[in-house]
């Protein structure tokens, strides 16, 4: 569906955001909507959102967005790679902002913004390594595919960095509907706990993570969230989150395009503040994350972040070529 906002900006710039999935509770997409809306407000323009549900509708929505001929078409998610490349080639006048992925070839009218999630996951793992009492951490992951390994593998490496004895196990949800199966996610988290894991990375989708947190609450272990601050969903059980600042990134990208510098490949990691942990943000004390109770861990992890930013440590991207 579409949502148009901004009445006063009828003659300002217009933006269309196309999502790959229904927005729902997907914090990543919600932040994107926020980002586009904020940009519209800032530049005195309008924005609308086209929600897709499957590959067929992604293609439909993208074509419709181009027909609207807004100042910028914003597409979020790697699902757009092919469609965006095609439309960009056919419509050289149209500017595109591609979030979270990039086209294989580069186009002058496509601005890409990607995240180095693995850097933040690595830091979350480091926290787990410091906090674990059983020397065993794990992850519940939506699917066994490269994109999701970016959350789980670095988590294990980070833990090993701060705690050489640590053991790491990851389990995958799979099944007929991996992105919407909180019951299975919960059962998997419980299985991990049963084998001695006491800190679990929840890379189990928006709905799945709720299952992971429930298991943590019942099993008395701890979990990590992704995308946004998930600590309020299960206060006392969620240690910290890998936060992707999509809103910041979109605003940045739109500024660049309107400012006449399109076509860049922009990468956001810890250094660019595109990624962080809730515990490393200024308002960490109000986050309801348990990490706030461990200032010494925060301190140690902050130091680790600085080393990554400085380039002393390079976190391997599991999905990278």
């Amino acid at each position: 569906s579409s949502n148009e906002t901004g009445g006063d900006g009828a003659d300002g710039p217009s933006f269309v955001l196309v999502t790959p999935n229904p927005i729902g509770v997907n914090d990543f997409l919600r932040l994107s909507v926020e980002g586009v809306e904020n940009a519209a407000e800032e530049h005195g323009g309008t924005s609308s959102v086209y929600e897709s549900s499957d590959p067929a509708s992604i293609q439909q929505n993208m074509a419709a967005a181009v027909r609207e001929a807004p100042d910028v078409v914003v597409a979020v998610g790697f699902n757009f790679a092919d469609v965006l490349a095609q439309e960009a080639e056919r419509n050289p006048e149209q500017q595109f902002l591609f979030i979270d992925s990039c086209t294989e070839e580069s186009f002058p009218n496509v601005t890409c913004a990607t995240f180095r999630e693995h850097e933040a996951s690595y830091l979350a793992g480091a926290q787990a390594g410091l906090l674990t009492e059983t020397d065993h951490v794990g992850a519940v992951v939506v699917l066994d595919s490269p994109q999701f390994h970016r959350f789980s593998d670095p988590f294990g490496e980070g833990a090993a960095q701060t705690n050489p004895d640590v053991e790491f196990t990851q389990l995958f949800i799979g099944g007929q509907n991996p992105f919407n199966d909180p019951a299975r996610a919960k059962e998997l988290a419980g299985t991990l706990a049963g084998s001695g894991v006491d800190h679990v990375m929840g890379a189990a989708s928006a709905a799945g993570n709720l299952g992971v947190f429930e298991a943590a609450e019942e099993g008395g272990f701890f979990a990590f969230g992704v995308d946004s601050n998930q600590c309020p969903a299960s206060p006392g059980q969620v240690v910290d989150n890998v936060v992707k600042r999509t809103d910041v990134v979109i605003a940045d990208g739109i500024d660049a395009i309107l400012g006449g510098a399109p076509g860049d490949d922009r990468s956001y990691g810890l250094a660019e503040d595109g990624l962080s942990l809730s515990g490393l943000l200024d308002d960490a004390s109000e986050s309801q994350c348990t990490i706030a109770e461990h200032p010494e861990v925060i301190e140690e992890v902050a130091a680790l972040r600085d080393r990554i930013v400085a380039g002393d440590i390079t976190v391997v991207d599991p999905a990278g070529s």
Binding site: P22, V25, L171, F172, Q176, N177, D181, A207, L210
Partner: protein, 304 residues
């Protein structure tokens, strides 16, 4: 990988929602209605269960709401198929689509949220420790400490078996499924019995949904049944629509799932774990049908 009580306890939890739905499917099958709307009907139960529990503050009100809502939802199949003669497969597929849309729509309008709803204040079903049994070494951890609906599902198996094979209503229902014309001629209403089977089945699916949303977890997420209703359809086939058979079939799925989790930890690809239950089912069907076929061959009724 370790085989411990927790594995079997996990299998029992995994099987419960499937079992409720499969019992519903078996009941309908016995009445001669091919019902593949279990997935959607269960999803409606998930939503109604969470809504009922949320607004009343009692998980049991949620369970009743789930039963009522799913039973009402199943009336689409009853009216459409039994009264109007529509194809049950078409109706069921449409119902499954409708359930996804409807629950998402209601989530938006009733709870003002999208994707999922959970709240620490939402009442779940909790667990029951069974006195004495809880202290038995291996059996205790497996059988005790589950959601009350899990135990209810076992009662439902027994109840349904008695109903089908010992109660007049069950006999009439089986007759309706075997030869509706003959039943009509003996003054037994095909319509009434099929409505009964579908609506009671709906209520059972509601229980399955309530167990999933208030027992296995305590939240609602769009499309959270995640194919369990389809597994139930398969379990009905494998269990030959008999309550005990269906229970065993569902147990097979529960075990396959719980084992699959653990095998992953030792390196089994997730996709192989996903496919395993279906392959196992196919083999089981093949073995059981071979027995049936040998009997038929002996009778020489094999038609070429």
């Amino acid at each position: 990988m370790t085989i411990d009580p927790a594995l079997f306890a996990a299998a029992l939890r995994a099987l419960t929602p499937i079992l409720f739905a499969a019992l519903a499917g078996a009941l309908c099958q016995r009445a001669g209605v091919f019902n593949i709307s279990l997935e959607g009907t269960m999803l409606v139960g998930c939503f109604a269960g969470v809504a009922g529990s949320w607004f009343s503050g009692s998980a049991w009100v949620g369970v009743l709401a789930a039963m009522a809502a799913s039973a009402a939802f199943s009336l689409i199949l009853a009216v459409g198929h039994v009264t109007l003669g529509a194809d049950p497969i078409v109706l069921s597929v449409a119902m499954n689509m409708l359930a996804v849309g409807l629950t998402a729509f209601l989530l938006r309008t009733v709870f003002g949220t999208q994707g999922s709803f959970s709240d620490p204040a939402l009442q779940g079903l909790g667990r029951v420790d069974i006195p004495l049994l809880a202290d038995v070494p291996v059996l205790g951890p497996v059988l005790s400490g589950h959601s009350p609906l899990l135990y209810l599902s076992w009662l439902a198996v027994a109840g349904l078996a008695v109903l089908l094979y010992r109660h007049p209503w069950g006999l009439r229902l089986r007759g309706v499924g075997e030869n509706p014309e003959a039943a009509t001629n003996l003054g037994v209403s095909v319509t009434r019995h099929r409505y009964g089977a579908i609506v009671v089945g709906g209520a059972l699916c509601g229980l399955g949904g309530a167990q999933l949303a208030l027992g296995n977890v305590t939240l609602f997420a769009e499309n959270m049944t995640a194919g369990r209703g389809w597994i139930a359809v398969v379990a009905v086939m494998l269990g030959l629509a008999a309550p005990i058979g269906v229970f065993l079939a569902a147990l097979l799925f529960g075990l396959a799932e719980a084992f699959g989790f653990r095998l992953q930890a030792v390196g089994l690809p997730q996709q192989a774990a996903d496919a395993a239950p279906y392959v196992v089912t196919l083999v089981a069907l093949f073995l059981s049908s071979r027995r049936i076929r040998r009997r038929d061959e002996a009778k020489g009724t094999l038609t070429r």
